[in-house]
């Protein structure tokens, strides 16, 4: 297993294989999105309470899940990058940050739009999930800011790995403190984002969209990692071959 991992770890083979997989992954991702959107917007019945506005859930909840998931992947690949000096893991970490950031922005925007009809305000300070999502956004901004501020590639990778690990440890603490803050005032209200008593036709689109988002993350991560690889290895022969079109990727 280790040889395979190391072999794939070598840049040219990774570039070649990812080049082959990308079109397929992209196509499947597109299909999943289409299926998810259709089933979410048309097929699923309206919610008895929130009516059709609940359909925003099919964009909001997967985005919120992904914003958390990508941060964990970033921190873990950072740790792998430092401990075993796997170059690819370091690149995957740095490439994941902007994607996680956009998922968090997505979750925040759809969250506040969804909250508008219910709470009458664009930003519900009392909702713990929305607040910790906002703080997660700043954690991402911190990670991206640090990776840009440090020129030296290897130092940036170490710094970002440390910061994302520290951030990862702090996310549950931040979330709990925000949740605790809310229980003080309104008591444990069922947060608006708890998926309503779900029947299959409502839950299926959520599953499809979640898969679509995960695949979307993989596709964009591969694209970004390939760019970073091309630039970092621009002096090596295999990049020259690719650029001068002797072997198209």
């Amino acid at each position: 297993m280790y040889i395979w991992f190391h072999k794939l770890g070598s840049a040219p083979t990774f570039y070649k294989w990812s080049g082959l997989w990308l079109p397929w992954l992209g196509a499947i991702c597109f299909i999943l999105f289409a299926a998810g959107l259709y089933s979410g917007l048309v097929y699923a019945p309206a919610d008895y309470q929130q009516g059709d506005s609940f359909r925003i859930i099919y964009m909001h909840v997967p985005a919120a899940w992904m914003s958390m998931f990508v941060y964990v992947v970033m921190a873990v690949s950072g740790a792998i990058g430092i401990i075993w000096h796997v170059k690819l893991a370091q690149i995957a970490m740095i490439s994941s940050a902007p994607i996680g950031f956009s998922f968090t922005v997505l979750a925040l925007v759809t969250g506040s739009i969804w909250g508008r009809p219910m709470w009458g305000t664009w930003w519900e300070w009392g909702d713990a999930r929305l607040m910790s999502e906002a703080l997660l956004l700043f954690l991402y901004i911190g990670v991206i800011g640090l990776s840009i501020a440090i020129e030296d590639k290897r130092k940036a990778a170490q710094a970002v790995a440390i910061l994302s690990l520290v951030g990862l440890i702090n996310i549950p603490i931040i979330h709990y403190s925000v949740v605790w803050l809310n229980t003080l005032h309104q008591g444990p209200t069922v947060s608006k984002f708890d998926t309503p008593s779900i029947d299959m036709r409502m839950f299926m689109p959520l599953l499809i969209m979640a898969l679509a988002f995960k695949l979307f993350y993989v596709v964009v991560l591969l694209l970004r990692t390939r760019n970073e690889l091309l630039w970092r290895e621009r002096r090596s022969q295999w990049v020259k071959n690719i650029i001068q079109g002797t072997s198209n990727d």
Binding site: L41, V42, D52, S53, P98, I113, R226, W231, I243
Partner: protein, 55 residues
């Protein structure tokens, strides 16, 4: 046709649902396009760099 119109109304929440999905689509498309554009930009820069080295 009317069914399609009723679909667009989204039970009166059309504004919220479509704005949420619209912005989400924009954000996702930008996230997808950025690396693609960056790829083109990097290839061009490396190409120019290789040209410099050759002559």
């Amino acid at each position: 046709m009317t069914e399609f119109l009723r679909f667009l109304e989204m039970g009166g929440y059309a504004g919220y649902v479509w704005s949420a999905y619209g912005i989400s689509a924009v954000v996702l498309i930008i996230t997808l396009l950025l690396p693609l554009l960056e790829n083109k930009y990097i290839r061009k820069r490396i190409d120019r760099m290789l040209e410099e080295e050759q002559d």
